[in-house]
Symmetry: C2
Subunit: 333 residues, 2 copies
């Protein structure tokens, strides 16, 4: 569901890595249906991925894959297709969670595993979606929702076995970090925002980033997945960066600090707000980078830094989920 | 084998985490023998860990655990004890690799898994030790050798599934990084070294750090484990930091850079040497921190930062290995 930049990147990865995927992981994925806002391509024995990409590039929608254009109801397609997995890539709507939530629920109810990079459904109803997945005996994975290609969730979950993460803090939104970095160089908030829009980092309506919704959604996902909390976006204390003044940024700079939009989970309190951070703190990265520091019981604290976005990077996160789901199914059998 | 700071930290962790280890991972470890340079404590049904720690603290050696002090040959104990695993914690000797290498070989030949934080054996003979482990059907793990408690090896191996690491670079030695950081503040090499000795960061004979042997040993481990190369410390081009002048450091600083002792694996070339790095590069950390940046095919590049040493931190890395070995054995069955 959804065939934008991330979906197309994933399709390209499935092509370019197909030999490796089979030889290293025993996977030979087929795409049996692909839907975008313009239409739908269906082939129970597997779509020709090369042609799918070409049709999308030339005609703007996968609906043109077949000569006879087909009407379709997305939920009907999800439910009825003989597929093992739904890859849900529709855009994030932080208010309704749709169409992602309905897509995910349909897939799980019809026994399909789900990989999503859509933060809306998870931000609004992470605990109930996980329950539904368990109830239906399917897996729900979402590596690409936090950190793009940077495996922040995997790091926390897999790399610190035997230890216990006590708290964490991080820069989870590249757009606001870019704006704050530019303000350090002297730009006003508005011109930094315009600059971010021109470079393609910010949306036309950038409130998702600016108001901290995006960072809050990611914090919800981390709090549930890493800390075992059962929270939604309503449980986050959220302040955006609109009220940050150039003078604030510069005063911080004089003290060897920077103002960063931090997402914090500490003693089960969940916060997203602009905070003054020492430039010597490894979490204090510039530009569109993301960074998270985990504090654990015995192994000290670790920071992981990487780009938080990008089609190919996020595509590679989906591929990781795909491999992990395959491995998990295999273990169960 | 070996009951210094790391060994004692591990023992403390086994005590303090015992409930968790059993409930979360199904592990109830017993220490059936413990050797240090002063003697040996043996109890086939499990030593009293609390008392073991106390004897060590009060009398300086675990040899005093029993009233009748026992003579012992370490290799004989390793071979004959009915144990599933050897935890090898003797000090690193980068020239001979002993006594670690003999200990590890004895354990593997008698069918015991091995966890080590001793870099000597791995730096000198990683490929053959791995072969010997495979041949004997046992596992050899060494998380604590790189990054202390920071899970650098696990990150590379587990978090980027489906992708391929092309190259990496990193600050792998905290002592030299501390000295270089102090030189930035204006200290000479010698006074920075003395400062490091006073703080306990540098050994009395610090050539292992200063000449780059320690970083080179870690690079060998990473090249073998992460990149699948078959190399030993002879294959590393190594330059230490003794020739770095305060004037070099300060000129770099004027350009917004810093001189760092980097370990680099790029196009299968393996280097350890002082290099000028931009202060904006996430890998450019100060003090005793370690940092590694991995460059991969599709998911971009990620940096992981943490303290590279510490008894409790390294103890927690051993615990991770213990859990992983248990999980792997369990899967095999």
């Amino acid at each position: 569901m959804g065939f934008g930049i991330v979906g197309q990147s994933l399709a390209k990865l499935l092509l370019s890595r197909s030999v490796d995927l089979f030889s290293l992981y025993g996977i030979k994925p087929r795409i049996v249906a692909c839907l975008d806002t313009g239409g739908c391509a269906i082939a129970p024995r597997g779509l020709d991925i090369q042609r799918l990409l070409e049709v999308k590039r030339l005609k703007g929608s996968v609906g043109e894959y077949e000569k006879t254009s087909s009407r379709f109801d997305p939920l009907y397609v999800i439910e009825k297709m003989d597929a093992e997995m739904l890859v849900e890539l529709t855009p994030t709507d932080i208010e309704s969670g749709e169409p992602g939530t309905s897509n995910i629920i349909s897939a799980m109810r019809s026994g399909k595993h789900v990989i999503t990079v859509n933060k809306g459904p998870l931000a609004l109803s992470f605990p109930s979606l996980m329950e539904l997945a368990n109830y239906n005996g399917v897996l729900l994975r979402f590596s690409g929702t936090v950190g793009g290609g940077t495996p922040i969730l995997e790091f926390a979950k897999r790399c610190l076995k035997g230890d216990r993460i006590i708290s964490f803090k991080g820069i989870l939104n590249g757009t606001t970090n870019y704006i704050l970095s530019k303000m350090e160089e002297g730009m006003t908030f508005d011109s930094a925002l315009n600059d971010a829009k021109q470079k393609g980092y910010a949306e036309a309506v950038p409130s998702l980033d600016i108001e901290g919704f995006d960072a809050a959604a990611k914090l919800v996902i981390m709090a549930n997945f890493i800390m075992g909390m059962k929270v939604t976006i309503k449980d986050i204390h959220r302040t955006g960066i609109r009220s940050v003044q150039v003078s604030d940024v510069q005063r911080a700079q004089e003290r060897g600090n920077a103002i960063k939009l931090l997402a914090i989970c500490d003693k089960k309190k969940l916060d997203v707000r602009p905070i003054e951070v020492s430039k010597k703190d490894p979490v204090c990265v510039d530009g569109t980078l993301n960074a998270v520091t985990f504090f654990s019981d015995h192994s000290g604290h670790q920071t992981i830094i990487g780009r938080g976005a990008g089609g190919m990077e996020t595509g590679s996160a989906i591929l990781r989920d795909l491999i992990e789901i395959k491995d998990t199914i295999f273990e169960r059998r």
